[in-house]
Amino acid sequence: MDVANFIKYILQGTVYTLGVTAVALPSGLILGTLFALLAVYGGKTLKQVMSLYSTVMRGIPPIVLLLILYFVMSGEINLSPFWAGSISLGIISSAYQMEIVRGAILSVSAGQMMAARAIGLTRMQAIINIILPQTLRNAIAPWSNEAAIIIKDSSLVYALGVPEILRRAQLIGASSGSYLPAYLTAALIYFALVFASSRLLGLLEKKLEIPANP
C-alpha cells in the first residue's frame, strides 16, 4: 500500500470524528445551558440535583460513562453505534458545559437582572434577552477548550467500533504492520482539527466582542 492510500484511509475517519463532534458538542451545549440555568435560577432542590449531576458525571472517566450509556442506548432504544456514541459524549459533555455556562452566568453582574426586572421584563425575558447573550459571549473562550476536548474524546467511540480516525489508524496499522506511522498520522489529524477549531472560535469571540473604549 502506498503512502497516499495509507493516509487517505485514516483521513476518511475524519468524517466520523467531525460527525461525532457535531452531534456531541451542540447537544452538550443545549443540555449544559439548560442545566446551568436550573442550577443558578432554580429552587433549592433543583440546585442540589444539578450539583449532584455535575459532580457524578465529572467524577467518572468518560470512557466508562460512554460504555454505560452506550449499552443502555443501543440495548433499549437500538441506536447505531455512531448515534449512541455521539449522544453519550454529548451527555457527558453537558456536565462540563454546564459548569462553563454556570460560571459565565455568574460573571454577568447581578445588577443586569435587577435592571431588566426594573423596566418590567419577566425573569424569563430577562434571562433570554439580557443574561444569555452576555453569558454565551463570556463562555466562548472556555467553551473552545471543551470543543477541543470533545474532538479528542470523539476517539473514545473507537471502543464502540465506529470507524473514526483512531479506529482506522489501528486497523491499517495492524494490516500493514506500520503502527507508529499510523498513530502519528492520527495524532496529526487530531491536532489539525483542534488547532483549526480554536482558531475559528477565537475569530468568533473577536467578532462578537462588545465594543468598548480602551
Partner: protein, 273 residues
C-alpha cells in the same frame, strides 16, 4: 387634596435580626420631587427597592395611585413598568447599544412594533441630549452619558414616578453636572420623582420636600428651607451642613449666610486663637 401617586404606610424591612427600617410613612403627590437624605446604611436604597418591589417589605403597605402594589397577587412586572428606577451604577445592558437599551422595554414589555419603539427610544435619547450617541455601546460612553441613557431607558416606559438611587455617587465630579441637569429638567417638566442623593445643591434647588432618614426612621421632613434653616432637630441641622460642606459648598453661596459662616469660620477662628 388629590390622590397621591405614591403612599407608603408603616413600611418595615428586616434582614434576619437587622431592622433596616420600621414603620416608614411617606406620601408623594403628583409632580413632586422628594429628596431623601441620610447617612449610609440608613435604608434609603432599600426603601427605593421596596417601592418597585425589587425587594419585598416585611410589613406595611405601598400604594401606587389607587392600587396596593404590596397586596397578594399584585402583578409585579406590571407595577415595575409604572415605576422607573435609576441605579447608582447605571446598570445599562452591556451588550446593547444606547438605542437598544432604551428600546428593549418598549418592544418586549410594551409590545410596540420595532419602528415605533425605535422612534420613541430615539426621542428619549434626544431628551437627555444623547441622540448622537444612539449607536454607541455602554463601554464606549462616559459614566455621565451612561447614566443619562439609563434615565432615558426608564423614561421610555412612561412611568408614573421615577426613583433615583444615588444617581451621581459613582460619577467623577466633572460628570455629575450633566446628570443633575437632566434631572432638574425632568423635575421642572412635572415628573414625579423620589431621589436619594447627597447633592445638597440639587436638593435645595429642586426638591419640594426633603426627607431626612437615619437608622431606619424618618427623622424629619419638610421644605428645603425648613430643613436647612429651621430644622426641628439638631441632628438634622448637623447632618445637612456636614453633607453640604462635603458635596456642594459653592452651590450654597446664595443661601442665607449666617449658618454657613459659623460653620466654615469656626475652625479658622480656633486656629488663630
Amino acid at each position: 387634596m388629590p390622590q397621591p401617586i405614591l403612599t407608603i404606610k408603616k413600611l418595615t424591612k428586616i434582614y434576619g435580626n437587622n431592622v433596616i427600617f420600621r414603620d416608614i410613612d411617606l406620601t408623594v403627590a403628583e409632580g413632586d420631587t422628594i429628596v431623601i437624605i441620610g447617612p449610609s446604611g440608613t435604608g434609603k436604597s432599600t426603601l427605593l427597592r421596596c417601592i418597585n418591589l425589587l425587594t419585598h417589605p416585611d410589613g406595611g403597605e405601598i400604594w401606587l395611585d389607587a392600587d396596593e402594589i404590596t397586596a397578594k397577587g399584585a402583578n409585579e412586572d406590571l407595577v415595575r413598568q409604572h415605576i422607573g428606577m435609576v441605579f447608582q451604577n447605571f446598570l445599562l445592558f452591556n451588550h446593547l447599544t444606547a438605542l437598544d437599551n432604551v428600546k428593549l422595554g418598549l418592544t418586549k414589555v410594551k409590545h410596540m412594533n420595532d419602528k415605533a419603539a425605535e422612534a420613541k427610544a430615539f426621542e428619549e435619547l434626544k431628551r437627555v441630549g444623547l441622540s448622537d450617541r444612539a449607536h454607541h455601546y455602554p463601554g464606549q460612553l462616559s459614566g455621565g452619558q451612561q447614566q443619562r441613557v439609563a434615565i432615558a431607558r426608564a423614561l421610555a416606559m412612561d412611568p408614573r414616578i421615577m426613583l433615583f438611587d444615588e444617581p451621581t455617587s459613582a460619577l467623577d465630579p466633572e460628570l455629575i453636572g450633566e446628570v443633575l441637569e437632566v434631572m432638574r429638567d425632568l423635575s421642572k417638566s412635572g415628573m414625579t420623582m423620589l431621589v436619594v442623593t447627597h447633592e445638597m445643591g440639587f436638593a435645595r434647588e429642586v426638591a419640594d420636600r426633603i426627607v431626612f432618614m437615619e437608622k431606619g426612621n424618618i427623622v424629619e421632613e419638610g421644605s428645603p428651607d425648613d430643613l436647612f434653616y429651621r430644622p426641628k432637630f439638631e441632628r438634622t441641622r448637623e447632618f445637612l451642613w456636614k453633607i453640604t460642606e462635603l458635596y456642594g459648598k459653592k452651590e450654597n453661596a446664595d443661601g442665607p449666610s449666617a449658618a454657613e459662616d459659623t460653620e466654615s469660620n469656626q475652625p479658622a477662628a480656633e486656629e488663630n486663637a
